[in-house]
């Protein structure tokens, strides 16, 4: 059992772990401040199941949908310490008059905040009343009181839960809008072709957007949510296509010649950037959203691809360039000047600029090369200091990070569970959650609002 070999292995592991601690003194919690409430003390929030308001038989299913969605939204938000439902008092309120403050503020729940309410179906409509109470402020406890009415379908009920969750997150999360009503666009091959698909931020409501029958890649939704730019293999080769979510069809966009891939939007929605090999070498270009006024930004031999604007200012572009033999992340001004190399080694691709303009998330194989089976993981880099932290550690190839508009979440693709699937996590690497399971799903892109 305790052979010299295993003792040596244990010893060398201990030494290695020690070295690792010395070599990498910077942990996420030590220095990453995303400025979005992640990593600060979390609000302790109790969310008992809503009660039925009347005896309609449709109540049961819709109520379960509502309660699951609301709990999931608040649990995913990253700013709450949710009270386990088993800690709740036996009597939960459905109305303000039923709230017993002491039962919620004292242990075991020890809640600071309480979200509660009721749901009732009347004919074809569903009505939801929801409140948020500060249970330690018994004289003036109400933070929020809301009433929603919509068609009594699971979809509409989910949407009501999302809206109420976003209200709570907005009030308790430093005035940053919640993301429960946001969309994620992605590529799915489950129809037999790589098409653009969309889903709610929590993986619900997955549906196909394009029906082109070829290969479509890299969907990027416009800041106003009305269009998706993507690249598609047409009879001319790879072109940037534009899909209108208002018209539910592709609308015209110029054919530039060469291989045109990886479009991205400026935050003002007026410009796009993309990679084109129209001159025989893949370079970064900017173009008006109308397709006019094409300008080339780079002129270095080798792949230049995957541009992304500074999400806050639109004044810089991060991109992937190969000037050293392996792809690295670079930044430059939006006019192509002042190119800076950000990563120092390995194989770094798929930059995503954080909404507050401070960070780049990207995929990195730090030790890349023959005989070095390095994993592709998602990393976060503070642009000003170039300090970085690794967010995924769980195996598989992890690629194509994209930020949620609140800057608290990152969606990405991972092969860790077999096949390529879409996952989300908080921007500190916690709460990694799989969203898709059917077919291969890749290149997620989070909507701007």
């Amino acid at each position: 059992m305790d052979t010299p070999g295993s003792r040596f292995a244990i010893l060398s592991f201990a030494v290695f772990a020690l070295l690792l601690q010395c070599a990498v003194p910077l942990r996420a919690q030590d220095w990453i401040r995303t400025g979005t409430g992640l990593g600060v003390e979390k609000v302790r929030l109790a969310v008992p199941d809503f009660k039925v308001a009347n005896p309609d038989p449709k109540n049961g299913d819709l109520l379960r949908t509502f309660n699951d969605t609301l709990w999931n939204d608040l649990n995913n938000a990253g700013i709450f310490d949710l009270v386990s439902k088993s800690f709740n008092p036996l009597q939960v309120p459905g109305q303000p008059s039923e709230v017993k403050f002491e039962a919620w503020s004292a242990p075991p729940p020890s809640a600071s905040m309480l979200a509660f309410g009721n749901l009732g179906v009347t004919g074809a409509s569903v009505m939801v009343q929801g409140w948020l109470y500060d249970v330690k402020n018994t004289s003036s406890p109400q933070v929020l009181g809301k009433q929603y009415q919509d068609a009594s379908t699971p979809e509409k009920t989910r949407m009501i839960a999302h809206k109420f969750a976003d209200e709570i997150i907005f009030r308790l999360g430093g005035g940053i809008q919640g993301i429960a009503e946001t969309q994620i666009y992605y590529v799915s091959a489950r129809s037999g072709h790589k098409e653009i698909w969309a889903m709610d931020y929590d993986g619900a409501n997955q549906h196909q957007v394009t029906h082109l029958g070829g290969i479509s890649l890299s969907p990027r939704v416009s800041p106003d949510g009305s269009r998706i730019a993507f690249s598609s293999l047409t009879k001319n080769g790879w072109d940037i296509l534009m899909y209108s979510l208002d018209l539910n069809r592709t609308v015209s966009f110029p054919h530039f010649g060469g291989t045109n891939i990886s479009p991205t939007w400026a935050p003002d929605g007026m410009r796009l950037s993309f990679s084109s090999s129209r001159t025989g070498d893949p370079e970064i270009y900017v173009v008006d959203a109308s397709g006019g006024n094409l300008k080339r930004l780079t002129s270095t031999k080798g792949p230049d691809v995957s541009p992304v604007f500074n999400h806050k200012t639109g004044a810089q572009i991060a991109f992937v360039g190969n000037r050293t033999g392996l792809p690295q992340i670079y930044t430059m001004e939006a006019d192509g000047t002042n190119v800076q190399r950000m990563t120092d080694q390995g194989y770094a691709v798929s930059p995503a600029w954080s909404p507050n303009g401070q960070f780049l998330a990207f995929a990195w194989i730090r030790s890349y090369g023959p005989g070095q089976p390095g994993a592709s993981d998602i990393y976060l880099m503070d642009i000003a200091s170039k300090q970085w932290v690794q967010l995924t550690h769980d195996g598989g190839r992890n690629d194509f990070p994209s930020w949620s508009p609140d800057g608290r979440h990152i969606v990405f693709q991972s092969s860790r569970a077999g096949g390529e699937q879409i996952w989300t996590m908080l921007a500190d690497g916690t709460k990694q959650t799989q969203l898709t399971t059917t077919g291969n799903n890749t290149q997620p892109n989070w909507s701007w609002k």
Binding site: K194, I215, L217, S218, S231, L233, G237, W238, G258, T259, I261, S262, S275, S277, G280, D281, P282, G302, P303, D304, V305, S306, V320, N322, G325, L326, P327, Y347, V349, S350, A363, P370, S376, D399, F400, T442, Q443
Partner: protein
């Protein structure tokens, strides 16, 4: 039409092979032994030059025999032990020579192919496509590289030579990458690979208007195993004939 011409070519090749082998055999045959004991076996050879003619055109049969007393060719009759004669076969014919002597008998044959009519243009382009497939070889790349490496230079040269000899051939150069690495980056890398082969062909004198390029990145792999052998198969500039 296409199938017929394929068959003809196959026949001509087969005939050439037979004759070449026959000729070789004759050359290496040892001189007849000096001693008279039993009578030596006869030898015989028969060739047609050319062995493929248009209908109505003549060809020349040439034959040689040794140790034979009675030599005849089917369809012509008795002939001298060695000689030549012009013939104009109406259709493809296999001429058979029989040489008989005291030591036994020996046969030799020669096939003359008669082409019905000049091949129409469509046939010749189909042939070009096949020749393209046989002669034009793909260019393989190193890991994460789009430089045409040393051992592929001679392949580029022989591809360019074929393409110069067949100036009507148009083709697409596909850039492919292995499964490792990222989708978008690999599409750009594949584009660089197809353009690297294109540039090499342009330098070797192939004109630009015959070449289309496209990158498939890692979207259309040739094989899907996760090992170096398969990855090498997928890192290539692939030639596709344009009809």
């Amino acid at each position: 039409m296409k199938q017929g011409s394929t068959k003809w070519i196959a026949l001509v090749f087969a005939l050439c092979a037979v004759m070449t082998l026959g000729a070789c055999k004759k050359k290496v045959a040892p001189p007849p032994p000096p001693a008279p004991p039993p009578a030596a076996a006869p030898t015989a050879s028969l060739t047609a030059n050319p062995n493929s003619v248009e209908k109505g055109q003549p060809t020349t049969l040439t034959w040689e025999t040794t140790n034979a007393t009675d030599v005849s060719i089917e369809g012509i009759g008795v002939v001298k032990p060695s000689g030549s004669q012009q013939v104009t076969p109406a259709e493809s014919t296999t001429y058979k020579l029989t040489a008989k002597g005291a030591g036994g008998s020996q046969e030799a044959t020669a096939r003359v192919t008669v082409n019905e009519a000049p091949a129409p243009p469509s046939t010749s382009s189909a042939t070009e496509e096949e020749l393209f497939a046989q002669n034009v070889k793909d260019i393989y790349f190193d890991y994460d590289s789009y430089a045409v490496r040393g051992d592929q230079q001679s392949v580029v040269q022989s591809d360019a030579q074929f393409l110069s000899q067949h100036p009507n051939v148009r083709f697409t150069l596909e850039g492919h990458c292995d499964e490792r690495g990222s989708t978008e980056y690999n599409l750009a890398l594949g584009d660089n690979r197809s353009n690297a082969v294109r540039t090499a062909l342009l330098q070797a004198g192939v004109s630009a208007d015959r070449i289309k390029t496209i990158s498939y990145g890692k979207e259309k792999p040739f094989c899907t195993a996760s090992n170096e052998q398969c990855w090498q198969q997928n890192r290539r500039g692939h030639f596709v004939y344009q009809k």
